[in-house]
Symmetry: C2
């Protein structure tokens, strides 16, 4: 019931209110809250104040809609990671692990704090990463792998004593760490019996950075 209920007439609109984007926004929210199978195309259309067939008109199948949602912001995150890494590497001075981690995390963090839809996308990502279907694997690889691999390479150079396979493995751990926690802030309060106050702030990002940096740079166990 969030959408306007002025009945829209069929036909080409005078000045398109970007219905395509509205659909993407609402789909993002519903996919995030209910998952791919749990979200219904009907509900997405209704929320967007749009006929169900319009969703199909723009995106084709439900799966295609989902992919479009993932790609829209996933590419933003991946792109920002590339840019930040470029900046860091072109600085002359070799970066620290913590700096690399921060650059890696920042795009996610900023998206999460960029209004309700950014947060929804972060939740959606977590679901995507728990998904087992081959299609989900492919989508993740397509959207995220390139940037992650560059960070692995950069970390490898900063941590020459740690074999690259180990760095890769640890980076996969790191993905789990932040993915899960960005998705699941409430959980932290469960575990602390609410002793932790305002965790939405930068303090949490600092803690995350500390945790991941320490894990990545940990000495090899003999």
């Amino acid at each position: 019931m969030t959408s306007s209920n002025t009945r829209r007439k069929p036909g080409r609109p005078k000045e398109g209110p970007e219905l395509r984007e509205v659909i993407l926004d609402k789909a993002e929210l519903l996919f995030a809250d209910h998952g791919f199978n749990g979200a219904k195309v009907r509900d997405i259309a209704t929320e967007a104040g749009v006929n169900q067939a319009l969703v199909r008109y723009y995106f084709g199948s439900k799966q295609d809609l989902f992919d479009a949602v993932v790609r829209r912001r996933g590419s933003v995150i991946s792109g920002a990671r590339h840019v930040l890494l470029d900046e860091l590497l072109s600085r002359g001075v070799a970066p620290t692990v913590a700096e690399l981690v921060r650059c890696y995390l920042r795009p996610q963090w900023e998206m999460k704090n960029s209004g309700s839809n950014g947060a929804a996308f972060v939740r959606l990502q977590a679901r995507l990463h728990a998904e087992q279907e081959e299609h989900a694997f492919r989508l993740r690889r397509e959207v995220y792998d390139a940037s992650v691999k560059r960070y692995i390479q950069a970390l490898s150079e900063v941590l020459p004593e740690i074999p690259k396979e180990v760095i890769s493995t640890r980076m996969a751990f790191a993905v789990g760490t932040y993915m899960f926690m960005l998705n699941d802030l409430g959980r932290i309060n469960d575990l602390t019996d609410g002793q932790v106050g305002d965790l939405g702030g930068a303090a949490l990002l600092d803690q995350l950075e500390t945790f991941i940096s320490a894990g990545l740079a940990a000495p090899l166990n003999s």
Copy 2:
């Protein structure tokens, strides 16, 4: 088509082949692979070689079936964590962080390597932790919180210089780390371009332990 196709007659069976357990096993697999919404009660029944109404007879609703699946092994994991922690604490010598982490992880790890269904349950857990519905939150709290909180307490005593809220937060990170990675071994190979050989073995557990221990024990950032 994995199940026998000898047509079973209705009525009380001579000697129950524990159909209840068979149903739980198949439900576990399908929930793990397709999620709560993606798994269909019909398919679960078919896989179990059983009439759909029997599922309802034993478990009631689909949601109740799901809960039963989660509780069955979730309680085993939680229980084992308690036992291992008791052992460690009653040893006299104060445990190390790595020892605590190892005790915490071992039940999960062993379940994962205890045959196909254990691995399925681990995947199912990851999905459960990505779920946003209130029901999922409640279930997770019910099954896991008590044991996690005990480990937080124990870690707190071993790491007196780190405030307990910080430990709690880091423990939440740790949950993400292992949950995600147990679920997602294949991902590691994606990121390493297959350079990592046999990662199913104990080497991976060691690496996970190293990563999490370092993260938990990391010095506070000023």
